[in-house]
Amino acid sequence: MHFELDMKHRLIRRAVREFGARNISCELAARMDSTGRFPWEVVREMGALGYLGLQVSRELGGAGLDWLGAAIVVEEISRCSGALGLLLAVHNGVVLNPLMRFGSLGQKERFLRALATGDAIGAFCLTEANAGSDASAIQTTAIPDGEDLLLNGNKVFVTNGAVASLALVFARTSMTGAPKETSVLIVEANRKGFLRGPVEELCGMRGNPVCSLSFEECRLPMQNLLGQAGEGLRIALATLDGGRVGIAAQALGIAQASMDASVSYARERTQFGKPIAAFQAIQAKVAKMAVEIEAARLLTYKAACLLDSGGRASKGSAMAKLFSSEVAVRAALDAVQIHGGYGYSRAYPVERYLRDAKATEIYEGTSEIQRLVIYRELASSLASQALSSRS
C-alpha cells in the first residue's frame, strides 16, 4: 500500500498548481462570483493545455490522464475557483467520459475532439423540475418522427448550461417497448428548438453559468443516440460513479483552500497581543480541518485508483463524494469562524468557499442519496457473503 503520489502525478499537481497560481487569482475568482462573468480567456488556455480533455486520448486531442490525474487537476483548480473546478468536473466527468465509454467511433470523431480541446463545452442534462434523485421520473421525451427523433422537455440546473455547445440529454423513449425506457441523446446547441433559460441566481458556484435548457420539437438524427436505446439509466449510473470522484475532488480543493486561508489569516490577525494562531481554540479548528481533509483526500484518491484499476467503484466513489463534500462545508464554516467578522464579509474569500462548498453536498447525488448508495452496496455484499457462507 503506497500513500505517496508517484512522480507523474506529483508533476501533474505541480503543473496545475502553477497554472492556477498564475492564471486564476483570488481576485478573478471573486470577480466571477460577484459578476457571474465567465472567464473565457482562462478556459481557452485550459483547453489548450488539455484541462478540458483530461481523460480523452492524446490522439483525439486530450491529455490521456487516468482517474487519479483527473482528480488532482479538479482538486487544484477548485482550490483557486470552485466554479472553474465545477466546469471541469462536469465537462470531463459526466460529459466526456460517457462519450468515450458509450460513444460510437463516429460520435467520438465528431464530438470528442472539439470537446477535448475546449473548442466546445459540454453539459449533462438529467435533472428536471420533478426528477432529480429519482432519475426514473423524467418527463422529457424523444419520439421517433420518420428517420429522426423529436425531443421535447425541460431540464433544470444545468451546469455550464449558458456556455455549452453540446448537451447529453436524458429522455424517455419508446424504441424497445420496455417500460420507463430511458435513453441518452447528444444534442448540439445550434439545433433548432434548443433553448436556454436565464442564468440561475444561485447561492454559490456563481462563476458557472447554470441555467435551464428546454427542447421544443428539437429534431435529432438517430446517430445522436448515445449507446443503445433504453440504456439511459445504465449510462447514468456508470457515469455517476466517475462523476462523484470529480465532485469529491472539487470539494477537497475547496476544503484545502479554506484551510490555507485560515492558516494564513490566523498568523496575521493579532488579538490580545499575539497572532490568533497562538490560541488553542484556533489551533484545534485548524487541526480538525487538517485531519478531515487528509481523510477526504485518501478516500477520493482511493476511489480514483479503484476506477483506474477497473474495479467496482460505486461504494468508494459515493463514500468519497459524501465525506469530501461534508468536510468542505465544515472546513469552510470553520474558516469563516476563524476569520470572525471578516469571514462574513465579501472582502475575504471564505464566505464564497462556504457557499460553493454547500453545492457539493447537493449535485451529482445529494448526501442522502450517497448514503443510500453506500448502504445498498454494503447490503448486497453482505447478502453475497451470507450466500457464500451457506453454500
Partner: protein, 263 residues
C-alpha cells in the same frame, strides 16, 4: 542545433531545512523544484529550438530525487535528460560541481553548440557554476543574459549589468547564464506530462560513466569548505524625519546611502 540546459533542483523556499550538525542544505527530505533561473534558461532554449530547430538536452547533478525536475523539463519540451548522481558527489563545492558538469558535457554526443544555465541558483546563490563550467571546457561565458538570440555564426546576448544593458556578440560554442526576464516559462500541457513518462526517459550517469575519480569530486575534490553558518540579524528600526520636504528627501537619500540601499 544542439542545446544543453544545465539545471539544479533546489528546495522549495517554504521548505528549506538545514542538515543536522552540518553547514549544508537538507536536499533529501524536502520537495524540490527547478531553480527558477534554470527554468528561464530552459524557456530560452525552447524558444531557440522553435526558431532554429534542434534538440534540447537537460543536465543536472544531484541526488536521485532530482529526476523529478528533469522529467518536468522533458514534459516542458526537452528531448533528452541526464542526471549525474553518485554518493561520492555529496559535499561538492562549486568547483567540483563544475568539473563534474564539464565532464558530462564533454561526454554528450553530439557536443552542444550552446550551453544555457541560470545565472544563479536560488539556494546557494554563488553564480559560480556557469563561468567555471565554461572555464573547464575552455569556452566563452556570457552571464546575466536577459535575451539570447542566434544569428548565423553568432549568439547575441542582451545582458543586464550593474548600471547598463549590454549587447554582446559571442562565437559558438558558448555557455550562457540567463537571468529572470519578463518572459515567463511556459505552462506544461497535461498531455505532455503523460507523453514524457511514456516515451522519454532520464538517463542516470555515475562517476565511472564520466571517468572521474572519487578524489576529484565531493568534499575531497572541493577547494572550499563551509565551516560555519548563521542567520544574519535583521534589526528593524523606525525613524521619523521631521523636516521640510526637500530637506527630508535629502535626509532619506542620505540614510539609504548609509545603509548601501542606494549607491
Amino acid at each position: 542545433m544542439e542545446i544543453t540546459v544545465c539545471m539544479k533542483q533546489v528546495p522549495q523556499e517554504a521548505e528549506i531545512r538545514w542538515e543536522e550538525g552540518r553547514w549544508s542544505l537538507d536536499r533529501r527530505s524536502v520537495p524540490g523544484r527547478i531553480n527558477p533561473q534554470d527554468l528561464e534558461a530552459l524557456e530560452v532554449a525552447l524558444q531557440l529550438k522553435e526558431a532554429h530547430g534542434g534538440r534540447i538536452t537537460v543536465l543536472s547533478m544531484g541526488p536521485l530525487q532530482a529526476e523529478e525536475s528533469l522529467m518536468e523539463a522533458l514534459a516542458m519540451g526537452a528531448e533528452r535528460a541526464v542526471l549525474i548522481s553518485d554518493p561520492a558527489l555529496a559535499g561538492s563545492d562549486t568547483l567540483a560541481t563544475s568539473r563534474v558538469l564539464a565532464a558530462a558535457l564533454r561526454k554528450l554526443d553530439p557536443t552542444p553548440a550552446i550551453i544555457l544555465c541560470g545565472s544563479r541558483s536560488s539556494d546557494s546563490d554563488t553564480g559560480q557554476v556557469g563561468p567555471q563550467v565554461a572555464e573547464e571546457l575552455g569556452l566563452l561565458y556570457g552571464g546575466y543574459a536577459l535575451e539570447v538570440e542566434i544569428r548565423q555564426e553568432h549568439v547575441y546576448l542582451l545582458r543586464r549589468l550593474d548600471r547598463r544593458i549590454q549587447r554582446l556578440r559571442m562565437r559558438f560554442p558558448a555557455v550562457v547564464g540567463v537571468l529572470k526576464a519578463p518572459r515567463r516559462p511556459r505552462h506544461i500541457p497535461l498531455g505532455a506530462i503523460e507523453e514524457a513518462f511514456e516515451r522519454k526517459e532520464c538517463l542516470v550517469w555515475n562517476l565511472r560513466d564520466l571517468g572521474l575519480e572519487p578524489g576529484e569530486v565531493g568534499s575531497q575534490g572541493s577547494a572550499t569548505v563551509v565551516v560555519g553558518l548563521r542567520k544574519p540579524e535583521h534589526g528593524r528600526q523606525g525613524r521619523v524625519i521631521a523636516l521640510p520636504p526637500h530637506q527630508a528627501v535629502e535626509a532619506i537619500l542620505e540614510a539609504l546611502r548609509e545603509h548601501y540601499a542606494i549607491v
